[in-house]
Amino acid sequence: MSMRINTEGIKAGMELAEPILNCYGQTLLNSGVILNTKHIRILKTWNIYNVTVKTEGNEQHDTNLPSDEIIQICRNSLVKKIDWIPELSIEEDLFNTAVLNNALNYGENE
């Protein structure tokens, strides 16, 4: 499980759950890296404000994750917007990613 936290809240020993990328998409630090004081200092120098770190299980997790109900609504809505059925694996990946993005923005575009 993971949690998005402000750089100010990072403590040495925390493990990155997602890589840290710069604005060009280049990886600065890979996921799995155990953060130390030097990393924390560098992150501040790079003006990185938030990072996603691994958590132990019972903390408050990503509260922005859409519910199954919203995902289902978005899935049905997307099926109506397209006139094709995903057949290839990459098309299924595109479809599922689109459903997730619509669900994450649910309410904003309605």
């Binding site: 290839l88 990459i90 993005n101």
Partner: protein, 288 residues
């Protein structure tokens, strides 16, 4: 609604009456095509255009790049955020500003339109990056400009085009089919005519002309294929709005051209979303 409203000749006559793009655009495109151009060349061109220089400085000092007011000159901006990034910014801002200033249509939402185009540009660039392609700025700009044919329709036949979009949405058909039915030509062809007038590079002209089908049998086939897939994906993601009616399936042949991994979209989704938000904020809030 009348059918066969436009033919190519009448469209060309309308396009001939269009204003040309600002000089800075052509000077930067020239630089883009010249492999021997230097940071100083770009810096001089941008610095000589006050409005563009101000926008670049504002963008370079925005939180997206994290330099917070420390960038004071164009050459500094180029050194910090990169030669290609600055060129992209100015070209994209020039095109967006130009359309927003010259063409008004009460039925048309330019913000949603440009959000879609920016999204397509970002995803095309991600695909280009994955392919290890050179000239990633062309992937980005092809995405930004792929739908200029729709802008042409919105500005030359605003009421008719709004009715055509409405027809496509209500009847759940592709926008191109509705365009063909009522205008006799599609936005891809219209966009190519405008791109010709404005002397766009061949690669971008190809992306505009063939983005709906995704196939172009020339050296720009990857850019065309990337724009095709990105256009469909960004429409499906709901990033912006491009008056597309029913969304067509990706052309199967395009997957073979790009040879992307099966988890490409989920794998790059965070990067795509973050870049989309950053770039939309940067390019669409310049006049705030």
């Amino acid at each position: 609604m009348k059918t066969g409203l436009l033919d190519i000749n009448s469209l060309i006559r309308r396009v001939d009456a269009f204003p040309t793009l600002p000089t800075i655009y052509y000077r930067l495109i020239e630089i883009m095509d010249n492999p021997r151009s230097t940071v100083m060349d770009v810096s001089e061109i941008i610095s000589s255009d006050q409005s563009s220089a101000a926008k670049v400085l504002k963008a370079a000092n925005s939180p997206i790049y994290g330099f917070y007011g420390r960038i004071e000159s164009i050459s500094q901006a180029i050194s910090y955020i990169g030669f290609d990034e600055v060129k992209n910014l100015v070209i994209a801002m020039t095109i967006i500003d130009f359309f927003n200033k010259h063409f008004e249509n009460r039925n048309f939402n330019p913000v949603k339109f440009w959000q879609h185009s920016i999204g397509v540009g970002i995803m095309s660039r991600l695909i280009g990056q994955y392919l290890n392609a050179s000239g990633l700025e062309v992937y980005f700009l092809a995405g930004i400009m792929h739908d200029i044919g729709k802008l042409l329709f919105h500005s030359t036949i605003p009421d008719e085009y709004s009715s055509i979009i409405k027809y496509a949405v209500e009847n759940e058909i592709h926008i191109r089919d509705a365009e063909l039915k009522f205008l006799g030509l599609t936005h891809d062809v219209a966009g190519e005519i405008l791109a010709e007038k404005w002397s766009f590079p061949q690669s971008i002209k190809c992306a505009i002309r063939y983005h709906s089908n995704g196939i172009s049998n020339n050296k720009h086939r990857e850019i065309v294929a990337a724009t095709h897939v990105s256009n469909i994906a960004v429409n499906m993601y709901g990033y912006g709005y491009s008056d597309s009616g029913l969304l067509p399936s990706p052309n199967k042949a395009v997957w073979n051209i790009l040879d992307l991994p099966n988890n490409f979209f989920s794998n790059f989704n965070k990067q795509m979303t973050d870049s989309y938000i950053d770039s939309s904020n940067l390019l669409l809030r310049q006049n705030d």
